[in-house]
């Protein structure tokens, strides 16, 4: 007995992927993070293009594993993940919903529009995710994961992570 190939619409696949959490910051999904660049059917194979956040991010292999597992759980048999390097991932691709979830989680989201285009860094005003004050200071350009920097609020005195712009 043969069954018809199961080829759900890409819109449905996007909605499944929007339920896959980032392994390091599980409050946001891989779609919120903006790292899934394309989903398409090619000759009966589902091709998902994924771009890395940082080239050495240890979560990359876990992310690929989670994508594959989610899609197989939904019944996709033929699938291929491809790495897409260019255009390089920018924090400007994090969705508005993703930014709001980061703030609720205690991580200051990247300040929109301050990504380091051409490698030029800006020093944006970062709001404290706890008390909302903009009276904050950078403690270190490098934080607990490659994508974060260490900050401190001068008003509520709490340290916090800032999702830095690239």
């Amino acid at each position: 007995m043969t069954t018809a190939p199961f080829h759900p619409a890409v819109e449905e696949i996007w909605s499944w992927l929007s339920d896959v959490p980032d392994p390091e910051i599980p409050v946001i999904s891989l779609v919120d993070l903006g790292i899934i660049r394309d989903v398409s059917w090619q000759d009966g194979t589902l091709v998902v293009k994924v771009t890395p956040t940082y080239s050495g991010c240890p979560a990359t292999s876990v992310i690929n594993f989670e994508i594959e597992r989610a899609l197989r759980d939904h019944g996709i048999a033929d699938l291929r993940l491809e790495r897409q390097l260019s255009p390089a991932w920018t924090t400007d691709w994090i969705s508005a919903e993703g930014r709001a979830k980061l703030t609720d989680y205690g991580i200051a989201p990247p300040v929109a529009g301050s990504s380091c285009g051409g490698g030029v860094l800006s020093n944006p005003v970062v709001g404290c995710p706890r008390c909302g004050s903009s009276n904050t200071e950078m403690v270190s350009r490098f934080g607990s994961t490659p994508c974060k920097a260490g900050y401190r609020c001068r008003d509520c005195l709490e340290p916090f992570d800032y999702f830095k712009c690239i």
């Binding site: 080239s55 255009p87 350009r141 607990s144």
Partner: protein
Amino acid sequence: MSDLPLFDLCLRMGDTCLVLAQRTSEWIGHAPVLEEDIGLANIALDLVGQTQLWLGLAAEVEGKGRSADELAYRRDQGAYRNLLIAERPNGDFGHTLMRQYLFDAWHYPMLQGLTASSDSRVAEIAEKALKEVSYHIARSADLVISLGDGTPESHARMQAALNDLWPYTGEMLIVDEVDAALCEAGLAPDLEPVSAAWHAHVEATLTQATLAKPASGYMHKGGKRGLHSEHLGYILAEMQFLQRAYPTATW
């Protein structure tokens, strides 16, 4: 020089990132403050990630079925093409930072040039790496300035580090036959504007750091051709131990 200049380019970029990452990661758990420990670990991690991209492309263009891991773990020092500055011992924290800064000030304009490579795979890696390196150079320049223009003790240590490392800076900027072939083919930038950008950045930073630029003199070369200092053998002996002792190990 191999008959594949692109292979040489990928090894020079990848091996330099890998050896510097290995050196930098020797600090993990030993840095003077927690934030710097994390900063050093993050920079080493970025460089390992960039190594994977460069050596992955090296393996692809070589076309002999070797993987990035095999290039990293199964080559002896004579086959490594890293810049000599990457294998210099760490010294004190200031010495490590000065090495990082002198390298970053080259890495950044080099990657900018590589984003215009005639090979789109090279340009894509450079575009990705440039974003990470913009944070590296911002941090290393800030710290060189803070420590150079700091206490008499930190100033003296930074000046000593600069004097010690200076003879290893020329290799980044001096064109050899591979560099010339790469530039001719449009694969890599002309090193002259890279050198000008390096000098301008270094001079501005050293002035702010109140450090004296050493007189130009003899420059060590050879890393780009596989002629290394004794240090690289020790680095590889540690880094490659597992894959050499258990060649079929997988995980």
